[in-house]
């Protein structure tokens, strides 16, 4: 590492330490009311002390995330491959989908609650719808970016459209598929948690809301930290996967 | 005796980084009479572009002085010096004619006047009819023609050209080279033309200045005594080869190092 780079890293580390220190000291010193932001140690302490409660909310949460993940990524990517490999389909559907992107999907949650009740189904339904279009658009973009020569070569060898997708586009667009997984996963996690916050009987989001109504700030922050941990780990895992796939393709 | 239009006296240039200074040019003395076409060549990194930027007023020399028409150059003098770069660097949101008129707009010349002047320059560079095209609708060669028109629109005495044809294909380069000579013979500007191509340097210029590898020093000053107008046939003649070879000997040494 060159000296200027080291200097930069040190400054950044100092910055993060300063932020963490402020998070701890400003509430303790009364500069920020503890109700608004409890000291970092208190939030983490609650997480540890009440770990049974938090960990207990995870099975439901993870279950809902997993099912949505499969629906979104399976369905979204499959549809993305289909649409992406057809110029006509892209031309017809992309403008509609891009406009649909602007619709604030959060307003669908009350509908989901009416249709599916307070249980897991409504969370899965909401998270799946929420994440579906962006994931599909990423997959489409990935296929669209493939050189058309690939498809033409395949067809020249007599491949049917299905074979072309399965044996040519799919492997070639693997990096973008992983990118779509990364995006879809992140949106699914947020979708489930937010849905739980809005109306549920169980789950991490529900826990956060409950602590909030009880004005239990450390409890709220503990939950948020946990969510950040989950999304963070998901990011790291998928980035690693992305790198592996990219490396595998070079070989 | 013709007074030198561009006078570079005892110019040295170095760039300082963390206490260590990197010399780019050393002791350059160069006088260019009015109306002369001078090529500047040298191995990569010899400071040719730096030299041009000094004459353009984009930088101040670490030592020595650059003068244009007797006046010391300390800042860009747009009315005296025009500059053309390797990339045309046109403003992508302006049409060709607006691009050419741009220097005049900066000087707050009224709209009708500047558009007329711009249109005339486009005609001079062979682009009549393309005034309203946007840069992304023009080929590389056409973009450079617009850039040349822009460089000429204020009728500067000096034209600086920094490898203007380097990113074009060979045929376009040849065509534009001849176009440039035509425009030059009509307008009689003083031209400083930096290039990597020895062929181009000899073909276009009255005089070729050869710089050494970094730090750039003037190692040769070759008078090109080929008759004008230049023709492609000359490039296969003996004299052309001799001149090119003389220059090549200097550069060969430097590139090998």
């Amino acid at each position: 590492m060159t000296w200027p780079e080291r200097h930069l890293r040190l400054s950044q580390a100092a910055l993060y330490l300063a932020i963490l220190a402020a998070w701890e000291l400003l509430p303790r010193g009364g500069v920020i009311p503890r109700l608004f932001v409890p000291p970092l140690s208190e939030a983490l302490g609650t997480l540890v002390a009440d770990r049974r409660e938090y960990l207990g909310s995870l099975p439901t949460t993870f279950g809902e995330i997993l099912v949505s993940y499969v629906l979104v990524c399976g369905g979204g990517i499959a549809m993305g491959q289909l649409i992406g490999s057809s110029l006509t389909a892209r031309r017809m559907l992309l403008p509609v989908l891009r406009s649909a992107y602007a619709v604030p999907l959060v307003v669908l949650y009350p509908v989901m609650m009416v249709w599916f009740g307070l249980g897991s189904e409504s969370k899965i339904a909401f998270a799946s719808i929420y994440a579906f279009i962006p994931t599909m658009l990423t997959a489409v973009a990935g296929v669209a970016a493939l050189s058309p020569a690939l498809g033409e070569t395949a067809r020249a060898f007599g491949a049917t459209r299905a074979q072309q997708i399965l044996y040519v586009s799919l492997p070639a667009s693997l990096p973008s598929i992983v990118a779509a997984l990364r995006l879809g996963g992140a949106l699914v996690i947020v979708g489930v948690i937010v849905a739980q916050m809005l109306g549920a009987a169980d789950g991490l989001g529900y826990l956060i809301t409950r602590h909030r109504t009880l004005l239990n700030s450390p409890g709220v922050y503990a939950g948020i930290v946990l969510v950040l941990g989950i999304t963070g780990m998901h990011e790291i895992l998928l980035r690693r996967l992305e790198r592996k796939v990219a490396a595998y393709r070079q070989s | 005796m013709t007074r030198a239009l561009v006078a570079i006296q005892g110019v040295s240039q170095h760039f300082g980084v963390d206490g260590a200074s990197v010399p780019a040019l050393e002791d350059i003395d160069l006088e260019v009479p009015d109306g002369q076409f001078v090529s500047v060549v040298g191995p990569s990194g010899c400071g040719k572009s730096t030299l041009l930027s000094l004459v353009a007023g984009l930088r101040l020399p670490s030592r020595g002085a650059v003068r244009c028409d007797g006046e010391l150059i300390t800042a860009p003098m747009p009315r005296k010096v025009g500059m053309i770069f390797q990339e045309a660097n046109l403003l992508p949101w302006l049409s060709a004619v607006d691009n050419v008129a741009f220097p005049l707009k900066l000087r707050r010349v009224p709209k009708r006047e500047r558009l007329e002047a711009a249109a005339r320059m486009l005609e001079l560079t062979g682009l009549a009819g393309f005034e309203d095209r946007l840069p992304h609708q023009l080929s590389g060669g056409m973009k450079q023609r617009v850039a040349i028109a822009r460089g000429l629109v204020q009728n500067p005495a000096v034209l600086l050209m920094d490898e203007p044809f380097a990113s074009l294909d060979e045929q376009t380069r040849m065509v534009l080279g001849d176009e440039l000579l035509r425009i030059w013979s009509e307008t009689r500007k003083t031209v400083l033309f930096v290039t990597h191509s020895l062929h181009e340097a000899v073909y276009l210029a009255d005089r070729v200045v050869v710089l050494s590898a970094r730090p750039g020093r003037v190692v040769d000053d070759v008078l090109v005594d080929l008759p004008r107008p230049r023709s492609f046939a000359m490039t296969t003649g003996e004299r052309f080869g001799v001149l090119k070879d003389r220059i090549w000997q200097h550069i060969k040494h430097a590139e090998r190092r």
Binding site: Q12, M92, V103, L108 | P78, G82, N89
Partner: protein, 251 residues
């Protein structure tokens, strides 16, 4: 989209609605969950005549606009500063990217802890959600200005104001507008989320209330209104973006 393709898509959509209408009329669909489109349309007309509904729409719009008007200049200013002062930019970049990637919705309970359930709370949350898009956009727009064009202007004698007006502004406009558009979409979503989560007024609050009371036609009608408004605004901004960015090469 080619013209005949447009017709196909339109016909398809109309066909779907026709099918829906038919199924509802025939009693094949549960009227409480999926009333006929005609019923929804009727409800929509009635809603638009009710003053309290119009007031709610106004409240939501006001919250969104206020948050937007705060987030845009502040966000852009921060973005420009980070881009123009490389030291600051390098120091804060990882932090900004991290915060940009963190899902903001989970912080909603924190804002309620701080502000209670109130209009300032919604505006503050809206600003929080939107500002990062604008910071990133601000940085990107400055970086998109080709440095060579600045050099060219200097050669031709431009002073600092001219460089800003003639080079920076036109170059930055498309990206600025794109971030504004994305920011607005995020902003509207954030405000609606607040209202569904907990509010005393606003169209999101009404949507949640109608859901709870199983007043489906009103609920769906409100969804249509919100979706239409969001898409309309998005399209309008996209059109403006296209006009200001006409010079960018289409890939």
């Amino acid at each position: 989209m080619r013209r005949h393709e447009r017709v196909i898509v339109a016909a398809f959509v109309l066909g779907l609605f026709g099918l829906w209408e038919a199924l509802a009329r025939l009693g094949r669909l549960d009227a409480s969950l999926a009333p006929a489109p005609s019923t929804i349309l009727e409800a929509l007309m009635r809603l638009l005549k009710r003053p309290e509904v119009l007031t709610s729409l106004g409240v939501t719009a006001w919250e969104a606009v206020a948050a937007f008007l705060i987030a845009v200049p502040v966000g852009l200013l921060i973005g420009f500063t980070l881009a123009e002062v490389p030291v600051l930019g390098a120091l804060f970049r990882p932090l900004v990217n991290f915060l940009f990637g963190v899902p903001k919705s989970i912080f909603l309970p924190v804002f309620i802890l701080m502000f209670g359930v109130s209009i300032p709370q919604k505006i503050a949350f809206g600003v929080f959600t939107t500002i990062f898009v604008l910071i990133v956009g601000g940085v990107a727009s400055v970086q998109s200005v080709p440095r060579e064009l600045v050099t060219v202007s200097r050669v031709y004698g431009a002073d600092r104001w001219q460089i800003v007006r003639e080079i920076y502004l036109p170059a930055m406009a498309p990206i600025l507008l794109e971030s504004a558009r994305l920011g607005l979409v995020f902003n509207i979503t954030a405000v609606l989320l607040c209202e569904i989560y907990g509010a005393r007024d606003g169209i999101g609050y009404r949507i949640a209330a109608w859901g709870e009371n199983l007043q489906m036609p009103q609920l769906y009608a409100a969804l249509v209104i919100v979706a239409a408004a969001a898409v309309a605004v998005n399209e309008a901004l996209r059109r403006l973006e296209a006009r200001l960015g006409f010079w960018r090469e289409q890939s």
